[in-house]
Symmetry: C2
Subunit: 335 residues, 2 copies
């Protein structure tokens, strides 16, 4: 409570009240996505599996939640100058759609190899798209330059209190939807790139369902959260890895997200690209839900047996569905 | 009220009270499927389009609603002997799943060329499957023989008061979900094979949203409802036609469904197989919803401009999502 205790290097962290506040702010604009269940899949797995269907969210992924929670808080003056974001595609669409609703210009820095559907949709929401080379240029530097040039506000993909709180509404809804059905969740699984979604979910579960274990799920080669949690401090992914999960390629856990995740998560699970493709196929066959690779990594972890599920009740967040037909065809070939 | 007025040839018709009663009976077992909306699709069409997502229903189509409403009313004695149904696949799965929940044996007569996923799922719900040749044998005769042999109860796919009332809960939910959002629907579209779904929907809209026009949608070559409505009496499809819409191949409107549809529907719309495939692709891209050919015919009618939609608010029922990967690949190739 005194200045002597101030630690300027420790970032402000969002809390449960921030998640509740975000839920009020996005109400009526974000979709309260359903918690899907497939009896035949339950029978196969010997567990009760609930799937939070964020592909059905506005813009096709959970990213609209955090983006709108941040952008709707711009001052009148900031709205005139607009927002900048860098994103492989889902945050791009979330920011573009939120900016359009709020009435502020958006410029989005996207990798030149982002899925075509993500680039096209970002433009369709009225944003300006600036392409960069994922392997040779720094999106952070490009974003910083654009922000300075335009006097715009940078909307980070995960390291932002309001963005994390917005993504946390996924966890809030999962907890509320499970409780409404009289279900006690043994575990909740969601993917991570920078860790904003899983951090927000963990904040919600800590308050609403404290005995539920929260696991982060990542693609092989990009398991920086799993290894950072195991060691208790942030480590980076080795360079040169590749994955079909275009949405999950951040190299380290975030500055703000990691302290939350390190305190609240039970651990990390890792799935291969083939396991991810198979999970997309199962979502097609048993849930009738289009899930993109990055969105299927949690389901992949369950289906591939990375977590004991028999006799338990598990919620998995399928975080997005923005996938090109060619990639989807690869998943269908798994059936 | 007197015997002199009895007309033995006129079948008993379901009414709105039967739909409300069905809603109570399926509550907690059937999914209240969401009404999806895609802002980019709205912008393209210049209308507000709401999609009732019945692929997310238990068994992957609306058919569980009617099947459970009928089968849950079996007497204790009937439950011991079981049920028989004939179906191209979605009614099969609905009956099998409902029978499993009620605890009664089910035998399903399915065409030998039904999609593999529909046959496999019907078996997975514990039903016995009897295959027949769609072009050379009569499923009605096979069903009647099995019913007689086993003393079982036949669960018709559409010509049954309880089945129609159960399917009508789709319309009940559409009307309630639209009202909860403050939306007045200008039109509701759904597909027909025998016409049970659209008849049930029409009963619900007549009471809850009487100014909403209800249209039946059919594949080219199987537009028996459209032509029957235009002429005011039932006509059959010409033999020899084929369509990708495996769920919509009945040859005439039903005995019970047609009087309802003839009284309440505004008319019929027809879509080609290519228009249906394109609608499946749009549902993949913009709604992240897996829709089977027969389930996409209403969406196809809207996208292909078969109905003026500009400036209007339209609800389309996507009725099911049980589609094989190969057929789905044909749809994705449209993008």
């Amino acid at each position: 409570m005194t200045a002597a205790h101030a630690t300027p290097l420790a970032p402000a962290l969002p809390d449960f009240a921030a998640v509740e506040d975000a839920a009020k702010r996005i109400a009526g604009l974000a979709v309260v996505t359903p918690l899907l269940e497939a009896p035949l899949l339950n029978a196969t797995l010997g567990c009760r599996l609930l799937v939070k269907a964020e592909p059905l969210q506005r813009t096709g992924s959970f990213k609209f939640r955090g983006a709108y929670n941040r952008i709707s808080r711009l001052t009148a003056d900031e709205r005139k100058r607009g927002v900048v974001a860098f994103s492989s595609g889902n945050h791009a669409q979330g920011v573009a759609a939120a900016a359009q609703l709020v009435g502020t210009p958006a410029v989005i820095v996207m990798p030149s190899d982002a899925p075509a559907i993500k680039v096209a949709n970002t433009r369709a929401y009225g944003a300006e798209v600036v392409a960069y080379d994922r392997w040779r240029e720094s999106r952070e530097e490009i974003g910083a330059r654009l922000t300075a040039e335009r006097g715009a506000v940078l909307v980070p993909p995960y390291d932002d209190v309001h963005v994390i709180a917005g993504q946390g509404t996924v966890g809030l809804e999962v907890a509320q939807q499970a409780a409404a059905q009289g279900i006690t969740l043994d575990a909740v699984l969601a993917c991570a790139s920078g860790g904003g979604l899983i951090a927000g979910i963990a904040l919600a579960m800590e308050r609403l369902s404290p005995r539920t274990e929260v696991f982060v799920c990542e693609p092989a080669g990009f398991d920086d959260h799993a290894r950072s949690l195991a060691g208790g401090s942030r480590v980076a992914n080795a360079p040169g890895a590749s994955s079909i999960c275009d949405a999950l390629l951040a190299t380290t856990p975030g500055d703000i997200t990691f302290p939350i995740n390190n305190r609240l998560l039970r651990g990390g699970l890792v799935a291969s690209d083939d396991e991810v493709l198979r999970a997309m196929a199962v979502a097609f066959r048993d849930l009738k839900l289009v899930v993109e690779p990055g969105g299927a990594v949690g389901l992949a972890a369950v289906l591939a047996g990375k977590l004991p599920v028999r006799g338990r009740t598990i919620a998995v967040v399928c975080s997005g569905g923005n996938v090109d037909p060619a990639t989807y065809g690869r998943a269908l070939a798994m059936l």
